[in-house]
Chain length 323, copies 2
């Protein structure tokens, strides 16, 4: 362990509600957390420390704007703690040559597990059947409407990144067939590739949305895609809420023009459209698909690894390509 | 298709609440359903038709007792429509040399899918998180308690039959390690075998209960097994309620001496112990793990196949070994 004087300085950037334990980080780095250390405003705190700050750790999806970045002229790296980093002004980072890292594979497996959980839940109605039993309806109502089997379902993965690849691996033994769309065809991947999401939707029973949110992917799951997916179709979204035109999604679900949805993310979190709260073919969760005790520990290792690599001029563990 | 006169006679045996569509069966067989065709009692209906009945189709878990069997001196086969056939007096069947068949593999895949759904649900709290969101708690309560990852979990399968084998296949890509117990070691299976369930429980984080209910397996998951599994341990039961000492299970769960449970079956269905209805680490379902529109269609094929094989003296598709 470095002595206190030797520890490189890392600025913590977070929204107030995000309180993440950072014990093993603070053994290695001098952490500056404006929300903990400062009686004055974040802005003035930043102004005073700005010159010494080469690295910033962005916790969760805390928005990191060009305004904040402009207060840090010495900044060289933004270490992210999420898989998607759409909350960081990447254009400004690219312009200034600031490096950016993400959670790497820390969340891939737990995210993929949750996707499978949501899919089985929507198709087989696990949560809604649990409510049925808890409400004491079993003795009176007898049989519950039958769910639909996973075997033979055509699953279209939107974004075959680290989570999407793990989802595919898990769903093959269920007898699902896999296809995908992404910016470009992945070398060495044998699943059929679709150049656009509408084509994929037309040939799929299920869409798994797990790509990054960018200007290009904003509302990519729109009315046309939902129409192509069809009224038995199921959408699972663990990416970002704004990947889907949420207003349209609600319309499609309410009018029975989609079979169901498993949604971990929403356009205006923590706000969930109230129309969804009463639908039995929808499973809702509060942006926790990738979060477990174990994935947080894995994340900590990735964050520490990236910071140590940066401060010792070694290759970063999980750099984000800024295009 | 055989003409009406040529169709072999099959007696339908069912409890009144079980109304299964049997269209493709009635094209091939003359179905006698005492509950449909008879104004008088089942008993007298059976007495009058008894001599012509060589085959009986037992729908769902309708109890088929030695009393009923004794009314059918010509009976040669009981065609079951369930995976487990503990509701049929098998001892009496063996004594009289009556053949018995079950659902074969018709339910294996859907049953296994549901097991995985229940396991992800219990470990990652899918249903309870869905309730949390539906109750509008996300904006106020913020973060939800973290679930536990599937990767690295040691899964013990109690009964490596058709469902258990499919469960194992599905859980390997999640990073779970698999072991099992059954009456005897399965040839050609590489998962570690345990001769008894207590040993398996001691070395497992999760027990999947999916074996047949017999005198030997009644309450096999008892206090000692639950103690061996430990307070983070999870039990999934899609076999029969009476495989577990339910009273003990409730005590363990209420006292926090087990991590959680996913229960599709109960000792006194449709009665669910009321203590379970308020627990967030429990997922409940009304004995529907194997039921989908698709599995019913597959079942129909197995039932027809068994009956046709019987009436044409060919090998049965899914005979049950009566030991």
């Amino acid at each position: 362990m470095p002595t206190e004087e030797e520890r490189p300085v890392v600025l913590i950037h977070r929204i107030p509600s995000l309180k993440q334990p950072l014990a093993s980080l603070s053994e290695r780095f001098t952490l500056l957390d404006p929300l903990l250390h400062s009686a004055d405003s974040t802005h003035s705190f930043l102004s005073r420390h700005a010159s010494s700050v080469r690295a910033i750790l962005c916790l969760g999806p805390s928005p990191l704007t060009s305004d904040t970045l402009s207060l840090l002229p010495a900044l060289e790296i933004v270490v992210g703690s999420t898989a998607g980093i759409d909350h960081v002004d990447l254009q400004e980072c690219r312009r200034r040559g600031i490096l950016v890292t993400n959670a790497g594979n820390a969340f891939s497996e737990d995210g993929a597990d949750y996707v499978v959980g949501l899919l089985v839940d929507v198709l087989r109605r696990v949560s809604s059947i649990d409510r049925f039993v808890r409400n004491g309806l079993w003795p009176d109502h007898g049989a519950y409407p039958l769910g639909s089997t996973l075997g033979g379902k055509r699953v279209g993965i939107v974004g075959l990144g680290s989570i999407g690849s793990e989802v595919a691996k898990r769903l093959v033994p269920f007898g699902c067939s896999i296809a995908y769309t992404s910016r470009k065809k992945k070398p060495g991947v044998s699943y059929p590739f679709y150049a656009n999401v509408s084509g994929l939707a037309a040939d799929s029973d299920v869409l798994i949305v797990c790509c990054a949110l960018t200007e290009e992917t904003h509302h990519m799951i729109n009315k046309d895609v939902m129409t192509a997916l069809g009224k038995e179709g199921v959408i699972i979204n663990v990416g970002r809420g704004a990947l889907i035109d949420e207003k349209e999604l609600v319309h499609f679900l309410v009018r029975g023009e989609l079979g169901g949805a498993g949604l971990d993310v929403f356009e205006d979190e923590p706000h969930v459209p109230k129309e969804l709260l009463t639908l039995d073919n929808v499973v809702l969760s509060p942006h926790i698909a990738v979060l477990t005790a174990e994935s947080f520990a894995a994340l900590e290792q990735v964050v520490i690894g990236n910071l140590e690599a940066f401060f010792s001029n070694k290759p970063l563990l999980s750099p984000v390509k800024l295009e």
